[in-house]
Symmetry: C2
Subunit: 409 residues, 2 copies
């Protein structure tokens, strides 16, 4: 008998029929003898409906009130799922965040979980009940106000519950059947991974694989909660996200686990930056003061040997603003030129196997060269190599690399 | 400065525009210097939408889950109203039932309020905030479960809050501008009453004037909370429901305050019931065991002087079942005949002034006789006289009595 925390997202509970299907899915696991804690999101479309009402009333929606509003979405789902389970003979207890309670800080709309009381859940499980918990929501005990956890909050709720309950596995049911070596829409023979490490998943997630929210993966990694991504629409084992050791022991670790890519960044280059201390800090200070997030950062000695070229990437929507701020803010420094380009894509190899194997970067660069794809920027970390290329070559690069590293094997 | 509890029902908050109008209404009272606690219902249509979802999932909806589901309706409204108030510069705090908390017993779907904690409300009022409370809902502290109060629950919430806070007045905003001498759709010159006593209002409410729920009037009467019914759509003083003394002291008490009528009852007569002890109990026992509510009960000695005629009324929907039960259950008693009729209407005069004035009944009966309306049954209480007539004469009877007692004056 295992204790499983299962999370079903908005599309999985998107209507009365889907909720009934989820109930049947739960019944199967229950009949297999597992203890189940089920976390659900709002029915798909509900959050937008509620935000639409709010938007019609206010042009400056207070986040405290928005949390009261949006938290009703999951509350509706827990009630309906509880009814659906009882309808097929499974006893269940539905809980809102405040009832557990799942306590958070007071940062409305993106609160952080502080603590989860598990006594009521344990008692219900011991009475052979399925415990249903509204995802995405909690309560700030100081203010007695409902809070929400922000984007992907239901995943976070599930992982946090699994950690607090020391569950055997946290299963995230989605509309995909696992994590793939890369996006199957780009590479048709992309392969589902049986296992992936938390670190790899973090890199994949932050690089655009939208299967799981970064925060929930971080959380699962921190508390070493085995996390499984699987489909709520079709059977299958999905992908297990686990700690490094588990993976390396159990399988011949491949060098590269997957290829991630994003197209939503823009590149800004400062050419001929004076080579003196504090300049990088000045540049990034201007950007971060404007709440613009920076992703890749590269600095190189320039051709003249006396100044630097400094390049970084920001979200495309922030490019024009960033360039304007820098043009104004850096007028005192004798910078030769500020260049920007939003027709770029970032392609990344991810894999814990890369740590101990040389030659991966050169294979990557050779593959791109053979395809006549120019590399504009390179950054590396222990388990990742990222390159910037012209956006029109992105799909070509991804397919070429997928072949070169034999990820379809 | 007065402390007012104001309640806005479903049609008053039926859409974004209506909610904004309610916010403006609240602002006016706030600008007049009043402290305000505002109770709201679910937006009209929302409760039925949610029940529809539940009905598609379950053919035996558990009331615990239904309460979790339905309580989201008011939660949406408190959030939206709070936004609407802040949008026009009024600070407000929205509260669900469990946040106050409004504690109830565990009778889901028709829970009774046990206690209301007022500290948070007091603190918010002292900070010059408008307090918004979700009507219709509470929490059972023993089980930590959300409960709802059943039909008209938001009125009850408002009255209970007014009692707990010792408010100066509890104002129920509806889609009518007060309580009338009778239904203006039947008698065009029906007059709005400035004042009516709790007892009169109870009789009017239980007799079919749907302005207020009986339970909230009972509650207001018990705790002597001055209750005012007024329109959320048009200005006006509405009708104040107050204690007997207030009314009699302040105005020349009219003999009759109003005329109520209902068409949803059916009459069942047992003719030739043996005149011996216990028969009435047997008859009514059969009916009440089947959970059928009985309204009027009359027993008369029959023409032969040796048996009784026993007549009572039930809801029309229960008539056939009641007759069947009696035919079976009373086969041992040699009852001559069981007759039933669902083409009847009950018309009642209500007024505290009737207590001390003779002649009202005879005026009533004479008026009906002049109109050639046959009276089938009569019951009286201290402040009410009810008659059963053929349903096709109901409007005629109401208009005739309204004229006879000069209620348009």
């Amino acid at each position: 008998m295992s204790l499983l925390v299962q999370k079903f997202g908005g599309t999985s509970v998107g209507g009365v029929e889907r909720i009934t299907a989820v109930a049947n899915n739960i019944k199967k696991h229950k009949d297999d003898g597992h203890q189940l804690v089920v976390v659900v999101s709002a029915m798909s479309g509900e959050t937008n409906r509620l935000l639409g009402l709010a938007g019609d009333i206010s042009d400056n929606i207070p986040m405290t009130d928005q949390d009261v509003l949006l938290s009703t979405g999951e509350q509706v789902t827990i009630a309906l799922l509880s009814m659906a389970l009882k309808q097929i003979g499974i006893d269940a207890d539905p809980y809102c965040g405040w009832q557990i309670p799942i306590t958070t800080d007071s940062t409305h709309a993106k609160a952080r979980i502080l603590d989860i009381k598990t006594d009521q859940i344990q008692t219900a499980l011991e009475s052979n009940k399925v415990v249903i918990v509204a995802g995405f929501q909690g309560i700030c005990q100081e203010t007695n106000r409902i809070t929400t956890l922000g984007r992907g909050g239901s995943d976070t709720t599930a992982v946090a519950l699994a950690a607090a309950l020391k569950a055997d596995e946290c299963q995230i049911f989605t509309d995909v059947d696992g994590v793939y070596t890369t996006d199957p829409r780009v590479v048709s023979n992309a392969k589902r991974l049986d296992k992936i490490t938390f670190e790899e998943m973090l890199e994949m997630a932050s690089l655009g694989s939208k299967v799981l929210q970064i925060r929930s993966v971080e959380f699962a990694g921190k508390y070493q909660v085995p996390l499984r991504v699987l489909s709520s629409f079709s059977p299958g084992e999905g992908t297990l996200i686990c700690v490094d050791d588990d993976k390396e022991q159990s399988v011949e670790a491949p060098l590269v686990s997957g290829i991630a890519f994003v197209k939503d960044e823009a590149k800004i280059s400062l050419l001929g930056v004076p080579d003196k201390p504090g300049v990088a800090a000045t540049v990034l200070g201007i950007i971060s003061d404007a709440n613009i997030e920076v992703d890749m950062i590269v600095q190189n000695i320039s051709a003249d040997g006396e100044s630097n070229d400094f390049t970084f990437t920001v979200h495309r929507n922030d490019m024009a603003r960033a360039v304007n701020l820098l043009t104004e803010g850096l007028s005192d420094l004798s910078i030769r030129e500020i260049k920007s380009d939003d027709k770029i894509a970032k392609v990344s190899l991810v894999g814990v196997g890369m740590r101990s194997h040389a030659g991966i970067a050169s294979t990557m660069f050779k593959t791109l060269a053979d395809l006549s794809i120019n590399i504009q920027l390179i950054t590396t970390s222990e388990i990742k190599i990222s390159v910037l290329v012209d956006e029109k070559y992105m799909e070509l690069a991804v397919r070429g690399l997928h072949d070169a590293f034999e990820l379809d094997q």
